[in-house]
Symmetry: C2
Subunit: 80 residues, 2 copies
């Protein structure tokens, strides 16, 4: 059983209203110095695969087809 | 300006229906071998702070007060 972490983040230039809201809320809570916040998603995945290469290939397919919207998001696959 | 990544994940034992749905969807898409999926959040934060220690302290305060629900979630702060 392999463990992987997939991180999906917005591409540079894509607006992130949720991140902006968090930025404002942190200021209201008195947490100073925050210049920007951008929110993304993380998926911790356990999978059975013959080897690292086939695990990575399956995870990349998962990102392209379901986990990320590649028009506006980048993804990164790490085996952990 | 410092850059940090905050990762918020569900604690072990907390049900993750969204992760379960993704698990099922990956199977339907023909991506085999996925045993479990758990979804979390990631925040990429830029902040001004005097030094690493005060940046970490501010980010931990942000997690405790806003970014994580510490009843059901763990958080991890990394300066990148």
């Amino acid at each position: 059983m392999m463990k992987a972490r997939v991180t999906v983040t917005l591409k540079t230039g894509v607006l992130d209203p949720q991140g902006k809201a968090i930025e404002g809320a942190l200021g209201s809570l008195g947490i100073e110095g925050v210049a920007s916040v951008r929110q993304g998603k993380v998926f911790d995945i356990e999978l059975d695969a013959g080897d690292e290469a086939s695990a990575k290939a399956a995870l990349e397919r998962a990102c392209e087809r379901l986990l990320a919207n590649t028009v506006i998001e980048n993804y990164r696959v790490e085996l952990v």
